[in-house]
């Protein structure tokens, strides 16, 4: 037979072996091991002359094939209790089948790869890293005053409590919600708002159903922002929408 196959074109010994079986239109469950081994060896020998590097795996398979071939030549040992004869090719067949199952599914993977490549995802807004950074540098603050003793005691406490019943009175206490707004807080709020949204309408800086005190504090914060040249205010005409944008040249991100 003609040898036009080049080893470099195969993904590995299974790929080559599988190709030979397909090319010879062989029933995978009845591999003519002599013929296949010969073809396989011929290709490997040919390639061996060119490169030794990629050879080891192919040679390992060659050895396996030769071993099967020799076992097929041996007279069949009589099995006790009429057990079914194990075909020396069985293990190889099982491996080929498993390989084929994965190889088959790659076709569908390829199609899906093509379809999915038409969909784009957006990068995270670069401004978001500011929020995340703030969070990271704060570990010290977060754990401020906490010693390992506290953790040690907390664990003891948990173990202790587990034995006791939960204190029903205490566990029913709810935390008291903070209801205090500061101008500083609201300045940060307006600045952060402009990081995510480059242009905000005046009414948008007030949250819905806010209390009067919050409106007042927010408005004072806005005035402060204007004074500190952090934001610009514009209005196309009387009674038109008042628009807040970043003051040109101010770098909110560095604030």
């Amino acid at each position: 037979m003609e040898i036009t196959l080049q080893l470099e074109n195969f993904q590995g010994p299974m790929s080559l072996l599988y190709h030979l079986i397909e090319r010879n239109k062989i029933d995978i469950y009845d591999i003519p091991i002599f013929e296949i081994t010969n073809q396989y060896l011929a290709i490997v020998e040919e390639a061996q002359k060119r490169s030794m590097d990629v050879m080891s795996e192919f040679l390992l398979m060659a050895a396996t094939l030769l071993e099967i071939k020799s076992r097929m030549l041996l007279p069949k040992a009589k099995s006790e209790e009429g057990e079914a004869e194990i075909d020396p090719r069985a293990e190889l067949v099982a491996k080929l089948i498993e390989y084929k199952r994965f190889k088959n599914v790659t076709e569908e993977f390829k199609e899906r790869e093509e379809t999915a490549s038409q969909i784009f995802y957006k990068e995270a807004d670069p401004s978001l890293h500011i929020f995340k950074q703030e969070e990271m540098v704060e570990l010290e603050n977060f754990l401020d005053g906490v010693t390992f003793d506290d953790i040690y005691m907390a664990f003891q406490e948990v173990l202790k409590r587990r034995e006791k019943k939960v204190d029903k009175v205490r566990s029913s206490f709810k935390s008291i919600e903070r209801d205090l707004y500061t101008v500083e807080e609201k300045i940060t709020y307006i600045k952060d708002l402009l990081i995510i949204s480059p242009k905000v309408s005046f009414w948008e800086i007030f949250r819905e159903n806010v209390r009067k005190t919050e409106v007042v504090v927010t408005f004072m914060a806005l005035l402060e922002c204007i004074k500190m040249k952090m934001v610009s205010i514009s209005q196309a005409g009387t009674f038109n929408e008042i628009v807040i944008t970043k003051y040109i040249g101010s770098e909110l991100n560095e604030a």
Binding site: K122, G145, Y152, A154, F155, E163
Partner: protein, 183 residues
């Protein structure tokens, strides 16, 4: 293309670019003149605003940009800096203690000890870099195992979890006895 197809394309372009896209570029992409394109974008932007959607389209010097609506801002910030001003709460401290001493530990096991849902506390600790996933348990559902991070050890001056002070068995025992007496 029909109008809603044009709107869809503009939407996709603005979404993916992440920054302001000039009118000219958008007009070019949908093969329309600038005036028509501008009108379509305006309609789309108005629709977003009228429907109080979470995404808005704003104009900036003849370019257009997609951004989040201001009224959603608090929720976004809550994700990224939810713990900004509060320190380690009792609930977090206890959860951290359990993770430190029982690691690797699953959320389920933490819940078992504390008797309350551990989702929030564990997420917070992971977010703060104090706890992290360290593998999966072999039990059904292969739940995530949590442990403390290098930052945690560094902060408290340990080099390995093996250095954590051993629990004083006596204290535990005493406390249990005490509990019995109290009952």
């Amino acid at each position: 293309m029909k109008l809603n197809e044009l709107e869809a394309v503009i939407e996709a372009i603005l979404f993916v670019s992440g920054e302001a896209v000039s009118l000219a570029v958008i007009a070019d992409a949908i093969s329309m003149d600038k005036a028509t394109t501008k009108a379509i974008i305006k309609t789309l932007a108005d629709k977003y605003r009228d429907e109080k959607r979470g995404i808005h389209i704003v104009e900036l010097d003849g370019a257009y940009q997609m951004c989040t609506a201001a009224h959603c801002f608090d929720y976004i910030r809550s994700i990224y800096k939810s713990t900004k001003r509060q320190g380690l709460t009792q609930s977090l401290l206890e959860t951290l203690a359990i993770i430190a001493y029982k690691q690797p530990v699953t959320k389920g096991q933490i819940e078992e000890v504390r008797g309350v849902n551990a989702d929030h506390a564990v997420n917070k600790l992971v977010e703060r870099g104090l706890a992290c996933e360290v593998g999966r348990d072999d039990s059904p559902g292969r739940p995530i195992l949590f442990g403390t991070t290098k930052e945690f050890l560094r902060y408290f001056g340990f080099t390995s979890t093996k250095e954590l002070p051993q629990l004083d068995e006596n204290i535990v025992l005493n406390s249990l006895e005490l509990a019995e007496i109290e009952e």
